[in-house]
Symmetry: C2
Subunit: 260 residues, 2 copies
C-alpha cells in the first residue's frame, strides 16, 4: 500500500476498539480536523476487551474506505495495536504528531483499563514515545451523544500537539462522564477493584453448557478521593497517566520471599 | 460444570498461552504435582500475543480432558485471562493458593511483556491478590527441553506457597535462558525498547496485499546492567515483578502540559 503523504500540518493518527463504523471514532475525527491532517486506521468490527493483543497467526489486510485532502480512513482486520503497528510500519514515513484512540463507547475507568483495546493502542503509541491519548465516554450506547466531549477533546489534543516534551513511555486514559455539562477535568489514578459475578451460564440446544462474560466492577476503595471512579461520579472528566513499563522497582517483600 | 473438589493440599492453577497441548504446560504440571493439587485450565489452541484480552462477543466453553485424584485438566476456547476468570467464577469455591502461567515456549523479556498472554493471566491473578507467576523459556521450539527449568520453577513455587504475605497487585515475570546450567536468578526490571521491521508484505493469488507480523526487538539500553535482557545474556533467570496498576503517580510534566 502506498505511503500516506504528509503536509505541513500536524498528523493525527486515530484508532479505536469499537470498529471503524462506530459513532465515537467518526465524531472524534470531525472534532480534530481543524487541528491537523487526519489518518484513521481502525478495526473492521468491534474489538472490545482486546487489551494490547496483536495478531500473530493470521495475516493482516488494509482497505482505504475514504480519502480526501488531509483525511484518510483505512479499515483493517486487526486489533487496535495492529492498527498502530500497521500505520507505523506500512503507511507512514516517520511518526504521527499525536495518536488518539476512541472515543470509546463506554467507560475505561479503574482496573478495566487492563482489558481495554482503546488503551492498548495508546500504550503502543507511548512505547514509541508518541503523545498518545485514549478517550472514553461513560455511555456504551451505539447512538451516544458525544457533543459534550468536543471542547475537552479538542483542548487536550491542542495542548498535546503544542508541547515539545511529552513524557516518555506514558499515555493518557481520559474518561468523560455522560453529562451535558462537565464540572471540569482532574488528574487522578485508576481505582483499585475487580470484576464480580462474571458469567451468565446457559445450556445450548444440544445440552452443552456455555458461558457469556458479564459482571460488575467492584471498587475496593469507594471512599478514596483521588481515583477516576470517584471524580467521574462528581461529574469530572478524569485523566489517568498510564505507564508502558509496569516493572515494580521496590519490592523488599518479594526479595525476602524469594531469598534474592 | 461441577466445582473442583478441594483437598487439604495447596491448589495450584496452571494456564498458558501456547495452548493445552504445548509441552511447556504439560511439563510444569508434572514439576508441580509434588507441591499440591493441580488444576490446568488452558486454551484449546495457541493464543500468543493475547495480552490481557478477554472474550466478550462469543460464548465460552470448557471440556474436562483429564481427571485423576488431585489433578484435573480442562480446555477452553478462551484467552489465558478467560481461563483464569472461568476458574475463579465457575470451577472453584475460593481462590487457588498459586497461579502459574507457562512454561511459555519463547522469551517474554523487555517490553514484549505488554503483548504476552502468559503474563495477561498472571496479571489477572495479581488483580485478585493471588500469588501469580509466569515462566518463559528462551526457546520457542515445540520440542524445547524444559528439564533445566525444573529446580528453579519448583523452588520459586515452593517459596510462593510458603509465604503468607505476597505483595498485593504484583505478579512475577520469570524468564529462563535456554541453557543446560543456570548461573542463578536475578530480580531486575524490563528492558526498554521496541519492535522494528514488523511486517512481511506479500501478494495473495488474487493480487491483494497482506501482511504477516514479524520483526525484531530493539533494546534501547543494551548497556544497562539492571534489565532482564542483560541478565538473560549472562545466563541468569530473570525475575521482573509486574504491577497490575500502571497509573503514573508523579507527572509534573503532564500537569504543566495540560494546565491541571
Amino acid at each position: 500500500m502506498e505511503k500516506i503523504a504528509r503536509s505541513n500540518r500536524p498528523l493525527i493518527l486515530i484508532t479505536n476498539d469499537d470498529g471503524i463504523q462506530a459513532k465515537g471514532i467518526r465524531e472524534v475525527a470531525e472534532f480534530l480536523k481543524p487541528l491537523g491532517d487526519i489518518l484513521v486506521v481502525a478495526p473492521d468490527a468491534p474489538r472490545s476487551g482486546q487489551s494490547s493483543a496483536i495478531t500473530v497467526t493470521t495475516p493482516l489486510r488494509m482497505k482505504v474506505i475514504d480519502r480526501q485532502e488531509g483525511f484518510c480512513m483505512i479499515r483493517t482486520n486487526g486489533t487496535p495495536v495492529d492498527c498502530i503497528k500497521l500505520s507505523m510500519n506500512i503507511l507512514l514515513d516517520g511518526y504521527p504528531d499525536l495518536i488518539v484512540s476512541g472515543i470509546n463507547h463506554g467507560s475505561n475507568s479503574g482496573v478495566s483499563v487492563i482489558y481495554s483495546g482503546t488503551m492498548g493502542a495508546v500504550l503502543e503509541g507511548a512505547l514509541l514515545h508518541i503523545p498518545s491519548i485514549g478517550f472514553s465516554l461513560c455511555n456504551h450506547k451505539a447512538d451516544a451523544d458525544f457533543s459534550a466531549c468536543r471542547e475537552l477533546v479538542t483542548g487536550i489534543c491542542q495542548k498535546a500537539l503544542a508541547s515539545p516534551h511529552w513524557p516518555q513511555g506514558i499515555g493518557l486514559n481520559i474518561n468523560i462522564p455522560n453529562t451535558p455539562r462537565l464540572n471540569g477535568a482532574k488528574m487522578c489514578r485508576a481505582a483499585q477493584g475487580h470484576w464480580t459475578e462474571e458469567y451468565d451460564c446457559r445450556i445450548d440446544p444440544h445440552g452443552q453448557e456455555y458461558y457469556w462474560l458479564t459482571g460488575t466492577f467492584k471498587n475496593y476503595e469507594p471512599e478514596a478521593t483521588d481515583t477516576d471512579e470517584y471524580w467521574l461520579k462528581q461529574g469530572y472528566a478524569t485523566i489517568v497517566p498510564c505507564m508502558t513499563d509496569n516493572s515494580a522497582r521496590h519490592t523488599p517483600e518479594l526479595s525476602s520471599i524469594l531469598g534474592l
